[in-house]
């Protein structure tokens, strides 16, 4: 442990020296004003927000499934069946996850969708099933806390109920988005969600499946993260 102790002593003397040099240089001068009208201009009515988001995300290969507040769990199941997914990772403790599981179980009880895609709960620390997560999961299902109309994008706040890797490791990411939660821009979303005041250990925006253009500027999808991003877009605008 000698290394760690010496480095921490070195670090605090570096800190003192750096900060005192910066202070000696002096701030000086009034702060230039921030004119945010360029950001405020980016506003659309609710329905247009939904269309803009969809257009923006489809341009980067995101796929959309249209749903209603009443049928989205069935829409999700139909997709999984159609794709022949072996399993779907979900968070049993999250609102969307619990609803998905309850509806699927009820359908099964009613004799629909027997067999097919198995729901797989993410209910233990990742260390307990890291290999399986990387090699044995077909898709992950998560909710979202909102969307961004200007550029297209989903806002996620992973937590204990819906862990971080669900939207990253499985080759397909299935995300639930309610149209009423779509904000104008990332800027307005940060303000609306109060992210500047408090943030969980991880929050993120996702606009499409993982991609790269590192080989000759040619786009290739699914480089490290999901190869496909499927948004279940719930149209709840009339209700909101």
């Amino acid at each position: 442990m000698t290394d760690a102790t010496t480095s921490s002593a070195a670090s605090s003397s570096a800190r003192a020296a750096i900060l005192s040099r910066l202070r000696a240089a002096g701030g000086g001068g009034p702060l230039p004003p921030l004119d945010v009208t360029v950001l405020e201009r980016r506003q659309w009515p609710a329905r247009e927000r939904m269309e803009r988001l969809r257009k923006g995300m489809e341009a980067v290969h995101t796929e959309f499934l249209e749903a209603t507040p009443g049928n989205w769990t069935a829409v999700a199941r139909a997709f999984c069946d159609r794709e022949g997914l072996k399993n779907l990772l979900y968070g049993p403790g999250s609102e969307a996850g619990a609803r998905l599981a309850a509806d699927w179980a009820a359908d099964r009880g009613a004799g629909q969708g027997a067999g097919g895609t198995q729901l797989m709960p993410y209910d233990r620390p990742v260390e307990a099933f890291k290999d399986e997560l990387f090699n044995g999961v077909d898709a992950g299902f998560t909710g979202t806390v909102g969307g961004v109309a200007e550029t297209g994008g989903l806002l996620l706040m992973p937590d204990a109920a819906e862990p971080r890797l669900m939207s990253l490791v499985p080759p397909i990411h299935l995300a639930l988005l309610r149209a009423s939660t779509i904000q104008d821009s990332f800027w307005s979303a940060v303000k609306a969600l109060g992210w500047g005041r408090r943030l969980p250990p991880n929050a993120l925006m996702i606009s499409g499946p993982s991609k790269t253009a590192d080989i000759e500027q040619t786009l290739a999808y699914g480089v490290h993260g999901p190869k496909r991003l499927i948004v279940i877009l719930v149209d709840d605008l009339e209700l909101a």
Partner: protein
């Protein structure tokens, strides 16, 4: 004073110009990037408003830098992120080694980080028996060949598909030869996913550091950044001390202009906000998050009111994409971690204006870089300022290596010139000789050949202006006052 200066850029640029493959690769890539950026900014007034706002945000961050850094550190600490400070790259490397060793980590997967390139971290860790693997596809490609990035955003831009196909088939186990980009990408995916799964630690850079929340923002398309920061049990982030911004809402316009300027994307695939290690009840994410804040000359740059603008940079790479020099010679010719216009002002300020005077002069001052820079860094003006700094020792200047770019020949020439100007008679005599015999000087004469190598030799007028004026006055000709 330097008797002789090392010249890297002129020689390596000359060599690069003779490589048609390299030139074609860059030309194609830069043309594509410029067109894509342009398409993202259809309205010039809107772009200017966004640039003004971004510039103001970065300027405010710098004006408040020490306070913001302290606020940022306090919030990170509260969030459970361990913050370390390093004055030099050596210190930063030692810090990271110490953290890795204290956890018994043997393998490190890396997301893209230019600061870690600045530190030459990979080589350092390798010396200490720790495998550091680049996971950004471009970085992975160049690491396979032991190369350095040729662009700050697209590190493997100097290579074309055939070159990468050949390289993969030789260097990746069981790989077959293919020029299909999807297949090549899939090969890298397979190798790297296993590495993410097995790695003891992950390392990333930081695009923006938010003071009010203690948050590290990462911008990426591939997902390797998220893999490196969320899968291994330990995450180490490195950042230059200038990266801090006051509020999260200030990051929104910077992010908007960053991706559009860099790759012509309205938005990146992922915008990842990291505000702490695995929280209570969380089932994944690293148990430990460490952050190393690096100075490496930045506080000295900060001390100069004009040069401070250098630190506004958000590393979008637009200045290199639009640079006529960079486009022709590529990134490696600069022999510096940061190539292109930003590198031309940053490297000499970090390493000394004398030793890297080649970079300061390797510019036509066309102004394209300053025109596209999203945070309006006056790169051409700074280049001119550094040219002066390289040969002068102005009092009050803190520029690294000021005055050390002055050569003996240059010094001697200036002295001669000053001596002549102080002695009118001698000056007239010299002028008389120059006008009568200047033409006879061979173009290949020492000193003169530096000019004539790429230009025609100027022919002096037959008579000096003074002589002409005098004779016209005597002959009662046109007055010139």
């Amino acid at each position: 004073m330097h008797a002789e200066l090392e010249v890297h850029f002129r020689d390596s640029a000359a060599k690069a110009l003779l490589d048609p493959q390299l030139r074609a690769n860059f030309r194609r890539a830069m043309d594509g990037l410029m067109a894509k950026r342009k398409a993202q900014f259809p309205d010039p007034a809107d772009l200017q408003d966004l640039r003004d706002l971004s510039t103001a945000i970065r300027s405010r961050s710098l004006l408040n830098l020490p306070d913001l850094l302290e606020q940022f550190e306090a919030n990170c600490t509260k969030n459970g992120i361990r913050v370390h400070w390093a004055e030099t790259c050596e210190e930063a490397n030692e810090l990271i080694l110490g953290i890795l060793q204290s956890k018994g980590a043997k393998t490190l997967v890396k997301g893209k980080s230019m600061v870690s390139e600045e530190m030459h971290l990979n080589a350092f860790l390798e010396q200490h028996g720790i495998e550091a693997l680049e996971s950004d596809l471009g970085e992975y490609i160049i690491q396979l060949d032991g190369e350095t990035p040729s662009h700050i955003i697209m590190p493997a831009i100097h290579k074309n598909k055939d070159q990468i196909a050949r390289q993969f088939s030789q260097k990746i186990k069981d790989a077959k030869y293919t020029e299909d980009v999807d297949e090549l990408t899939a090969m890298a995916r397979k190798v790297l996913r296993q590495k993410f799964l097995d790695a003891d630690a992950g390392l990333s850079g930081v695009n923006f550091a938010v003071a009010e929340t203690g948050t590290l923002c990462l911008v990426e398309n591939e997902g390797n950044g998220r893999m490196s920061t969320h899968v291994p049990p330990l995450h180490i982030a490195v950042m230059g001390l200038e990266k801090v911004v006051a509020r999260l809402e200030d990051v929104a316009p910077l992010y908007a202009i960053l991706t559009r300027s860099a790759t012509g994307q309205a938005v990146s695939t992922y915008f990842n906000l990291i505000t702490g290690p695995r929280g209570t009840g969380e089932k994944d994410g690293p148990q430990d998050v460490h952050l190393v804040i690096l100075d490496n000359g930045r506080s000295r740059i900060y001390a100069d009111p004009q040069l401070r603008a250098t630190l506004r940079c958000i590393r979008c790479g637009a200045c290199m994409n639009h640079c006529p020099v960079y486009t022709r010679v590529g990134g490696h010719a600069y022999e510096a971690v940061y190539p292109g216009p930003i590198g031309k002002i940053l490297t000499p300020q970090m390493e000394g204006v004398g030793v890297r005077h080649d970079l300061i002069h390797g510019s036509s001052l066309c102004g394209a870089c300053g025109e596209v820079c999203p945070v309006e860094i006056p790169i051409p003006e700074i280049l001119v300022r550094l040219r002066r700094e390289a040969t002068h020792t102005d009092a009050g200047s803190q520029v690294a290596g000021k005055g050390t770019g002055r050569t003996r020949t240059e010094d001697w020439a200036w002295r001669l010139w000053a001596g002549l100007l102080k002695r009118p008679r001698l000056y007239r005599l010299a002028a008389w000789f120059a006008t009568r015999f200047g033409k006879a000087l061979p173009a290949g004469a020492p000193l003169i050949q530096n000019w004539t190598r790429t230009r025609t030799k100027p022919v002096p007028a037959r008579r000096s202006l003074q002589e002409r004026m005098r004779s016209e006055a005597q002959s009662g000709g046109t007055r010139h006052d």
